[in-house]
């Protein structure tokens, strides 16, 4: 299966996290006693890195058809334990900061990905919600659920309005084990036609070998498209 996660990266060193320094910083993302648990940092703190390390912040708005798995996507990415079984509509806005250390041009930096997510029907009821989620985003991620064809149609309908706003758009592909409705070929054709990169969600929330490539390529893509300056140092 081919996706952007396997193509070469423009800025981010894909294997840096395996080095001694990389490992040391990645370890800061985990709970010191129980290494199977990810830390959930507050806004006044950040992983313990060498002073002077630049922090690059991206606001990423998460969109998707109601029930396509936006909340699950964020849970998977943040290493959160299993959520409520069965589908429950999300109420209001949920923001999640996720840190990822990477090396760009031989310089270590810390990416802070701030995911903004809201439930579809709640956003319709309260206008302010979608405004807040989509305001000043660095990228918009649309969740495609492979078990639901209509999530592609939703992406189509959203893309037109997003292109008018000049947003950087990526697709998050949520894989499914059975009842695949969106096949690989169709997905890559769609992405090529729409000129969108797509990222397969890591199948395991805690195993670094799965989510490191995901974060590396996501950070690389958003970084290249935004040309963010590494200004804020920690």
């Amino acid at each position: 299966m081919e996706s952007t996660t396997t193509t070469s990266l423009k800025h981010v060193d894909p294997d840096w996290y395996k080095t001694v320094e990389g490992e040391r910083i990645v370890q800061q993302l985990y709970h010191p006693i129980n290494t199977k648990v990810r830390k959930h940092f507050g806004i006044l703190e950040h992983p313990n890195v060498t002073p002077g390390t630049p922090e690059i912040m991206f606001k990423i708005g998460v969109l998707g058809k109601a029930g396509s798995g936006k909340t699950k996507t964020i849970s998977v990415l943040s290493g959160k334990p299993a959520v409520f079984p069965g589908y429950i509509e999300t109420i209001g806005i949920h923001v999640k900061n996720i840190y990822w250390p990477a090396q760009i041009q031989a310089k270590t930096c810390l990416f802070k990905l701030q995911f903004w997510e809201s439930g579809e029907s709640c956003s319709k009821r309260y206008n302010y919600i979608s405004t807040a989620c989509m305001e000043k985003t660095d990228a918009v991620a649309i969740v495609i659920n492979r078990a639901d064809r209509t999530s592609l149609d939703y992406a189509d309908s959203k893309l037109d309005s997003l292109s008018r706003l000049n947003s950087t758009v990526v697709l998050f592909v949520m894989d499914t084990e059975h009842d695949v409705q969106v096949h690989d070929q169709e997905l890559s054709q769609y992405a090529r036609r729409r000129r969108l990169p797509f990222f397969h969600l890591p199948p395991h929330t805690l195993d670094i070998k799965y989510f490191a490539p995901f974060y590396n390529s996501l950070c690389d893509f958003v970084y290249s498209s935004q040309h963010k300056v590494m200004s804020d140092t920690l």
């Binding site: 507050g42 309260y126 302010y128 919600i129």
Partner: protein, 467 residues
Amino acid sequence: MWYNKFFISNGDKLRRCSVASLCRGEKIYRKICDIPGGLSVSIRNWINFRRNLFWSFVSITQKPLETVSSLKNINITGKCHLIYLSLYYLVTDLKQSFLQLLPLWMSYIWHEAIESVFIFATDSSLSTVHLKHILDLVSHTMVFYLGLEELVSVKNIERLKKDLKVCYPLIDTILDGLSPKEDLEDFCDLTNYTDVLCCTERSTFEGILNCFAESVGTVFGCLRVSGKVAAATPNWWTLDSVELLQIQLLLSNERYDTGIDIPIYLPVRSPKIPFRLVQWKLTQNSDVCLLCGPTPSLADLEKEVKRFWRTAFALLKSAESCYPANIPLDITLDKNVLSYLVVNTEKRRSLSSLSPHSTSGDAHSHLTAVRKRDILRTFYKTIVGTMINLPNSEDASHDSKEVFMNFEYYSLHALISEMYLILVLYPSGLHNHYLRSDNIKSVRRTSDAMTSICSLGADSTPTEMVR
């Protein structure tokens, strides 16, 4: 209010006495209707009440599953349904069915097809007080998310059922309180009072919080450390207990998010106009929570939060070290106190700890924190409302002020003192006589010390503690 139309009672009592005595509280004229144990599903009896209305009475004891499925098909002939189902099953198997049925009952009430819904439970470990509290909470939850208007002017019941799904996680949390999960440490769902954490930095936090709240244009704000309120604005405490509880339960479900902005209604204070419940996580274990109007936006609030709280980072870390004893580190409790729960009924706050000796360790480690929590919860459920009344309770049927219970591996002591209820778990081996004579002083002194902390209004922290 419509949600006052829920009445509940304990099934065991029901079997022993009569429906009529259950209705005594409602001062309804009654005709005796005795119900022997072990009924099958049937419409048992007609009860003629004061207003000469015929109330159909359905009672089900043996087959709760069939009951719930059959309830949907009941032909309403009277003005009220008495629905008797086992809350025990409700918690385990029938939770979903219960949730499915609730809107149906609500719609009957709203359309005045029936006047009241009676739910009787057979779990004998729960007394009426606690059951009523749970049902109150469940019905308030619907207002909390959807607003009263939406519920009262219901046009399409199927639509409402769909909308009500958003309440499920919170209702689940409430019902889970009956058989709590491992990670639940708080007692708020049981006591109906806010769980607090007592730290010496409180007054500094209150100062920052008041300035912060004022600058963002709200009067409702609180700072939580380890999920417990460490400081709050004066207006925060004017919210109704049920509102504070629902906010606390909601936030406990969202504890992995960095920031949230959720539109909610306040079931008592503002059931028709929504507020925004905003929370930003400051550190891994502390967060600041506000109730705001339409502005400022969540992103603007993040900037303000950083501006006001950055300087308090070291203080926050120091307050976090109070956990899990939940009292300042320089206060050491009697070694024999394995865990405690202090409830201030006047200020509606509760202070508790499952591991009160965080630094020196627990001498009686055969009881795990979860076990201690279950013991305390069961103790609370067993005695409150049946053996002793909370200090501000209207019901004055029990006048005892103290309860001792001795078991093979532990002893329990409950004490009512002024506006406080104090529950303490001790190891076994402390003889009852010892507890009553020699130890009673130390118990009282422990309690006194803890009560003054729990008031969260005392300017000085008491230094004199037991041993």
